[in-house]
Structures are given as C-alpha cells and as structure tokens.
C-alpha cells in the first residue's frame, strides 16, 4: 500500500508576504471598484433596510390577507411605476424626495348632493385607518403583497351623497410639472386619470390608502392618498389623488385612451385575457430572487369570491 506524504513546499513557491498583500489589495480594490460601478449603474443602493417614514397613529389590524406574506418594505418602496417621477422603476424613489404633500385637498364634484373638498388631515383623522394585506398585480406580469393602511373608499364617497346619476367615479392625479419632473415631457396625457363604475368604487375591498406598513405613504407610492383596487391591474390604482368626480358616462382613463387594445377600462386581472405584450397567465413575485419560478395568476387576482358578482353578464374577454 502506498501512502502519499505531502512534499515540503519549496521556498521558491511560497508567495512573498509583500506580494501576497499587494494581491489582496488589488483584489479588494477591484471588487470595490466593481461593486461601486455596479451600484451606480443599477442604482439600487438607495435601499432602506427597515421601515422608514412617519407612523400612522391608531392603525386597526384586520384579518384581511393575514395569510399572505408581505413583500419586503424595501422592494415595495423602490420598484414603482409612477411616470410622474420617471419611467424607470427606480426613478420615483429618487425623484420624489422633495415632493410636497401638505397642504393637500381632494376636490369632489359632479353628480352628488354635497360636492366639496376634503383635506388630508380630515382624511387621516376622520376615518379609521385599517391595515389590510392585499395582493397587488401589475399589468407587466409582476406582483407583490402589500400591507396597506387606509379605509374603504365608499365610506368617503358617501359623505358627498352621490345621486342616482352617478354611474361612474373619475379620479385625477396632481398635475404639477415643477414637482413632478416626469410631467415635463408628454409621455402620457397629463394629468393621469382613472375611473371605476360606482359599484366598483363602493365595493368594500376598494380602498383609499394613506399608508403602508404602518407609516404614511412614501412619496413614490402615491402620497398622500391613493386608490387600491386589488382585483384590477395596478395602473387602475391611481396615486396622489386631487380630484374625484361622479359622472353618468364612462370617464376618460389615461392608459386605455393611449392604447385601447392593450389597456381596457375594467382592467380586471384575468389570466385568460392576454395582453399583446405580456402573457397574463403567470406573474413573478417581487423579491423572490433570481431562480424563483413564476406563479399562476388567478381570475380577479384571487378575489373572485368577493367581486365576481359585479360582472355577472359581462363578457370579460371583450370588456377587458
């Protein structure tokens, strides 16, 4: 039996200490340079490690979505479609830092008995702010889970006493190119506008959100107040709302006006209606990593039990 013994390493093969240190320094600086360029190029270094922002007082927990696992705060607040602050996902967090959300009022008008205005202080103090954990599905086939804070939109709408002529509700985002640099170019037909049927707007799942993760809405997420309609594609959930209008005709909505074959008025999440550029059968969960598989998308984003009755008799393939 042969037992191999280790040969002594000749001294000529041993790297000189000084050379070794030089190499380490070189490798370290190369790595530093590399990671520096990478973080500059991919510009993801603005991550907050923990939840940051002004805490909302007296948030009432609910059981809605308590079985879902929320997406990390850093992902929810750094990956945003908010073209008012730039078209890239990382633009809003960068470009909305100085956005002023006080004073802020929503003007409510149209087919209602008590039109008027409501300030953000009244929105925060006048309604019980709940926590509801909702699935959020973007039309671009990615998704996240967000612990929103806010209340049912219907509770606010009722105060303005919509009449029987109020068949639809139209919403409008702030138009202020000085504060919203994205509006300086005509990428979209500013101001951003969205709409719901009155039944959709009054549905208890439809939320007016003032915060997430227990803190006031970060600017990039639509501060100070936004819509959240969890069974529709994300673009319906309009941000930084300044106007609500009751109307008897289907209102103008920004994306469906721009490309009607791609974005409908209803925009209900539906795996069977394919978008011309994205299959809607699957989505990717944000924060799941490089090797995560796509998840199958459900009709109405998994809220069919609650909302399918709103659309009985409606051909969902035509009214996408």
């Amino acid at each position: 039996m042969i037992i191999k013994t280790k040969k002594a390493i000749p001294s000529s093969d041993i790297t000189d200490q000084a050379v070794w240190e030089q190499r380490r320094t070189f490798i370290k600086s190369a790595a530093l340079l590399g990671s520096g360029i990478a973080s500059w190029h991919i510009s993801l270094n603005s991550y907050a490690e923990d939840i940051t922002g002004k805490a909302l007082p007296d948030v009432q927990k609910t059981t809605i979505g308590n079985k879902l696992t929320p997406t990390a705060f850093k992902h929810v607040t750094s990956y945003n479609n908010f073209y008012e602050f730039g078209v890239n996902k990382g633009d809003p967090i960068e470009n909305s830092k100085d956005f002023q959300t006080r004073p802020w009022t929503i003007k409510v008008s149209g087919e209602c008995e008590a039109p008027g205005e409501i300030g953000i202080e009244d929105i925060l103090a006048g309604f019980t702010q709940e926590e509801r954990i909702y699935r959020f599905r973007c039309v671009e086939a990615w998704a996240m889970v967000v612990p929103w804070n806010g209340f049912s939109l219907g509770d606010l709408l009722k105060r303005f006493k919509p009449t029987s002529k109020a068949k639809y509700v139209a919403f409008q985002t702030l138009n202020d190119p000085e504060q919203m640099p994205g509006q300086k170019r005509n990428i979209l037909d500013w101001p951003y506008r969205e709409g719901l049927t009155i039944e959709e707007a009054m549905h208890p799942l439809t939320m007016l959100s003032t915060g997430l993760y227990g803190v006031e809405l970060p600017n990039q997420n639509g501060a100070p107040v936004r819509l959240v309609v969890p069974w529709k594609y994300g673009f319906k959930s309009i941000k930084s709302i300044v106007g609500i209008h009751f109307t008897d005709t289907m209102p103008y909505t920004t994306w469906s006006d721009m490309a009607a074959d791609e974005y409908g008025f209803y925009a209900n999440v539906n795996p069977d209606v394919s978008h011309p550029r994205w299959s809607q059968k699957y989505h990717r969960q944000l924060g799941a990593g490089v090797f995560a598989r796509k998840q199958p998308t459900e009709l109405f984003n998994g809220y069919a039990d609650e909302v399918a009755s709103l659309y009985s008799g409606l051909d969902l393939k035509k009214n996408y």
């Binding site: 990478a38 991919i42 996902k89 170019r185 550029r277 059968k281 990717r284």
Partner: protein, 198 residues
Amino acid sequence: MLQPSPLIISRVLKPLVFFSSLLPFLLLLSAALNDNLGADPIKTLTLETGDLGLYFLLFTLALTPLRNLLGLTWLIRFRRMLGLFAFFYACLHMLIYFVLDQGLILEAMIEDIVERPYITVGFSAFVILLLLAMTSFKAAQRKLGKNWKKLHKSVFVAMALVILHYIWLVKADLLLPLTYLSVYLLLLLGRLPSLSKT
C-alpha cells in the same frame, strides 16, 4: 495619424478591449451573486444584457465610419471582437429570458415568439447574430469567399430588428429607442460611400 504597432495592437490594445468588454458581465455577475439586482432581478438582468448587446452592435457598426472619417485603418482589427461581444450579450439576454424568465417552458416560449411581435423581431435578430457568429472565423471566411461579405452585411438587418424590438417593447417613453435609431441612421449615412462601392 495615430498608428499603433501590430505588437501593441495584439498584446496591449486587444486584451484591454477584451477585458473592458467583459467587465459589465463581471459586474452583473457580482451583483447577482450579492443579491443586489433589486426587487425583480430577472428583469434587471434581461434589461441590462439587452442594453449591452445593443451597445456592442452599435460599437461594431461604428468602426467602419470611424475608420473612414479618421483614417484609422487598424480600428477594423477590433470589429470581430466587438461583434462577438454583441453576440455574447445577446446570448446572455436570450438565456436569461428562456431559462430564468420562462423557466424553459417550451409552450410559453413558442407562444411569445409567435404572438408577441417585439419578441418575434428580437428572436429573428438573435438568429442572424448566431449565423454571423458561427461564420466569424477565418476558415468560414475563406470557405464562403465572396458570399461572406454579403452574409455579414445582414448585421444591419439585425441592428434594425433590435431597435424595432426596443421600440415595440416600451410602453410610453420612446426617447431611448429613438435615440438609438438616430445613431443607427447616422452610422448608415456615415458609410454610404463604402456601401455604394459594393
């Protein structure tokens, strides 16, 4: 004008260009390994490698007009390397899309290629680049003779398809793809004299 010696080109400039071209890949790899690619890493990788492929195609096409403009004939010696890097990043782009994004589900890939025009043109561009990369070596060049040059002119078709791929995939803001289109048209204009000769 500036004329580095053949030795400088092969021993200094070529390795330099090679490693600079590889650097973005190494940076992406390091970012991927450090989970530093953001909320949707697959999308980040797809966009970054797509951009890189496009840049390298533009660099490759810029060499001939630059040579004509500046009289630097030796620039042409970098054309194959830059072209192959364009192919390298296009390959990564495709692999990330097929393996990581589509999870190698064949039906989903076929549906995408057939039904989504921006993917159809992108895939066509890739097929052209694949043919060009496969025939980029000296032996293929000799074997194809006159046809080699004709075949490799199709890089202009590939570039046009790549830009179309970009234009069709953006949702609203056409600024970047139209900028690349302008650069492409400028590069075409820059070589009009040489095109008319052949």
